[in-house]
C-alpha cells in the first residue's frame, strides 16, 4: 500500500511495520581506529513504496529525507565512533498515466535520485540511515537497498552479543 507522500519518511520493522526486507546484521571485534573495538554491518532493502502522480514537465520535483530505522541498537554504555552507508535504487517504475506534457502526450519525464546519505542514532540508540531523496514525474520509487557500517566503542563484551568470536 502506498504511503503518505510526505517527507520525512520513517521505515522500520517495529510496531507491526514490515518495511525492511532481507534485513541482516553482524558485528565483529576490531582493533581500531581508537577507540572503536566493534564493527557492525547492517544490510537490507527498505520498502519505501513512494508513488507520485506528478508531471515533471509542469510540476516541481519532490524532495526530502527518508530515515531507514534499523533494528541494530547500541548498548547504553556503547559509544558511536563513526559510520558510513551505501544506498542504491532497488526497484523503480515509471508510469505514463498522467500523459506528461513536457514533450508530447507520450513523453513521461522521470527523476529518481538518492543524493546524500549519512548514518546516525535515534534517541534510543538504534542505528538509522538518513537518505536525501529527490523524485520527479509520474513514478514509483518502491525499494532502496542499503548497507551501513558502524564503528562502536564497547565498554564490556558479553557472551551473548554476537561480538565475542
Amino acid at each position: 500500500m502506498a504511503r503518505e507522500k510526505n517527507f520525512p519518511f520513517h521505515l522500520d520493522n517495529i510496531e507491526g511495520h514490515n518495511d525492511l526486507i532481507s534485513y541482516n546484521s553482524w558485528c565483529i571485534p576490531i582493533r581500531g581506529p581508537a577507540p572503536a573495538n566493534v564493527l557492525a554491518t547492517i544490510s537490507g532493502i527498505a520498502a519505501l513504496d513512494l508513488d507520485t502522480d506528478d508531471d515533471l514537465g509542469t510540476e516541481s520535483k519532490k524532495e526530502g529525507d527518508v530515515y531507514i530505522m534499523t533494528l541494530f541498537g547500541l548498548k547504553p554504555t556503547d559509544t558511536f565512533v563513526d559510520g558510513s552507508a551505501v544506498v542504491t535504487l532497488a526497484r523503480v517504475c515509471s508510469d505514463d498515466s498522467t500523459k506528461g506534457t513536457f514533450f508530447d502526450g507520450d513523453d513521461v519525464p522521470v527523476l529518481f535520485a538518492l543524493d546524500d546519505v549519512e548514518v546516525g542514532l535515534n534517541e534510543v540508540k538504534l542505528v538509522h540511515i538518513r537518505v536525501h531523496i529527490v523524485v520527479g514525474g509520474d513514478i514509483a520509487l518502491d525499494k532502496i537497498a542499503f548497507q551501513a557500517n558502524v564503528l562502536i566503542h564497547r565498554e564490556q563484551f558479553a557472551s551473548t552479543d554476537g561480538c565475542d568470536y
Binding site: I30, R31, G32, P33, A36, L39, D82, G83, S84, A85, V86, V87, T88, L89, A90, V92, S94, D96, F102, F103, D106, D107, V108, P109, V110, L111, F112, A113, L114, D115, D116, V117, E118, V134, G136, A145, Q147, N149, L151
Partner: protein, 292 residues
C-alpha cells in the same frame, strides 16, 4: 568502434561536486597486520545520452588512510577487495531508457592510491545517469613502520586448564605490556652502558590466546601464543622491544619474579627505515628461570 570516455572523480572533502557523502572507515585488523578500508559514497558522473547507448568509464580516486601524525599513508599492497556499485540518481524525459552500471573493479596505482573503476552506460532521448553509489571493502597494507611478532610459552609453564602447569594463567587477555624503547647513550659511563630506556612507541596484543602456530608446535607442543604489534615506530632509530608480564596475569607456584621473557627471533636492536618499514617475526618466549 566508439571511443569510451574516461572521467576521473575524487572522493574527498575538496571535491564535493565529484562525490557526495564520501566516507572512509580505516579499521586496523591487528592479526595479520592489515587494514580494512571501507569506502562509501555517491559518485556524480552526470553522464548523459542524447539517443544511443553512451558508455563512459568512471574512475573514483579514493582517499588515502591517515596516520597518527595526520599525514596520509601510501597503500603498498591491495590484498583483497570487494566492491559494489548501484544506481543512485537517474533521470529520463522519454519512455524508453537504459541506465547501467556494467562492472566494477578496484586497482592500486603506482603512487599508492586506490581507484574504483566502473563502466556505466546510458540510453535515452535524453537520459542522465547523475549519480551512482559505491562501497569498497579493501584489505590493504600501508607504508606504516611497525614491528610485530608473537609471545609464546609451553603448556607445561602456564595453561588456563592444566592444574599441573608451573604457573596458573589467570586470564586470557591483557597478559603483556609491549613497548619499543631506545636506550640513550651515557657518555659518562666508563663501561659503555646506556641511560634509562625511553618509550618511543607503545604496542598492543592484537589477538586472544591461541594454541601455538604450526611451526611452533614441534618445539612446544600444546603451547600457547598471543600476537602483538607496535605501530608508528620512529624511523632511523635503533629500538629495542620490551615485553613485560601484566600484574596478575600469571600466578607462579613459586616466586612471582621467576617468570621472564626473552627475544628468540628477529634483530635487536631494530632500525626501521624508509626502505625497511616492517620487521615481522620478532618473537618472545615466556620461560621459568627455575626450570632453565
Amino acid at each position: 568502434m566508439k571511443e569510451i570516455k574516461i572521467q576521473s572523480l575524487y572522493a574527498d572533502k575538496d571535491h564535493p561536486q565529484d562525490v557526495s557523502s564520501p566516507k572512509m572507515l580505516d579499521i586496523f585488523l591487528g592479526t595479520p597486520v592489515h587494514h580494512l578500508l571501507i569506502y562509501t559514497g555517491i559518485a556524480i558522473p552526470e553522464w548523459d545520452s542524447q539517443s544511443s547507448a553512451d558508455p563512459e568509464q568512471v574512475q573514483v580516486h579514493l582517499e588515502r588512510p591517515i596516520g597518527s601524525d595526520g599525514n596520509p599513508f601510501n597503500v603498498t599492497q591491495l590484498v583483497h577487495y570487494t566492491a559494489t556499485v548501484g544506481l543512485a540518481s537517474i533521470e529520463n524525459k522519454d519512455s524508453d531508457f537504459v541506465f547501467a552500471t556494467e562492472d566494477v573493479g578496484v586497482s592500486l596505482t603506482a603512487g599508492g592510491e586506490l581507484v574504483l573503476v566502473s563502466n556505466i552506460s546510458v540510453t535515452g532521448e535524453p537520459s542522465w545517469l547523475h549519480r551512482f553509489s559505491y562501497q569498497v571493502n579493501a584489505i590493504i597494507d600501508v607504508d606504516e613502520p611497525l614491528i610485530s611478532g608473537i609471545i609464546f610459552w609451553s603448556a607445561t609453564l602456564a595453561s588456563p586448564t592444566d592444574e599441573n602447569a608451573t604457573a596458573t594463567l589467570n586470564r586470557t587477555d591483557d597478559l603483556f605490556t609491549v613497548r619499543a624503547v631506545v636506550i640513550p647513550p651515557a657518555p659518562d659511563n666508563p663501561f659503555g652502558g646506556g641511560g634509562p630506556p625511553q618509550v618511543v612507541a607503545v604496542g598492543e596484543v592484537t589477538g586472544t590466546l591461541l594454541e601455538q602456530p604450526a611451526d611452533f608446535q614441534a618445539r612446544f607442543p600444546g603451547g600457547f601464543s598471543v600476537p602483538y604489534v607496535i605501530r608508528n615506530v620512529p624511523l632511523d632509530v635503533p629500538v629495542h622491544v620490551q615485553v613485560e608480564i601484566q600484574p596478575g596475569a600469571f600466578t607462579p607456584h613459586f616466586s612471582p619474579t621467576d617468570l621472564d621473557l626473552r627475544q628468540v627471533s628477529g634483530p635487536d636492536p631494530i632500525t626501521l627505515t624508509l626502505g625497511h618499514m616492517k620487521e615481522p617475526n620478532v618473537n618472545f618466549e615466556l620461560f621459568s628461570k627455575q626450570l632453565h
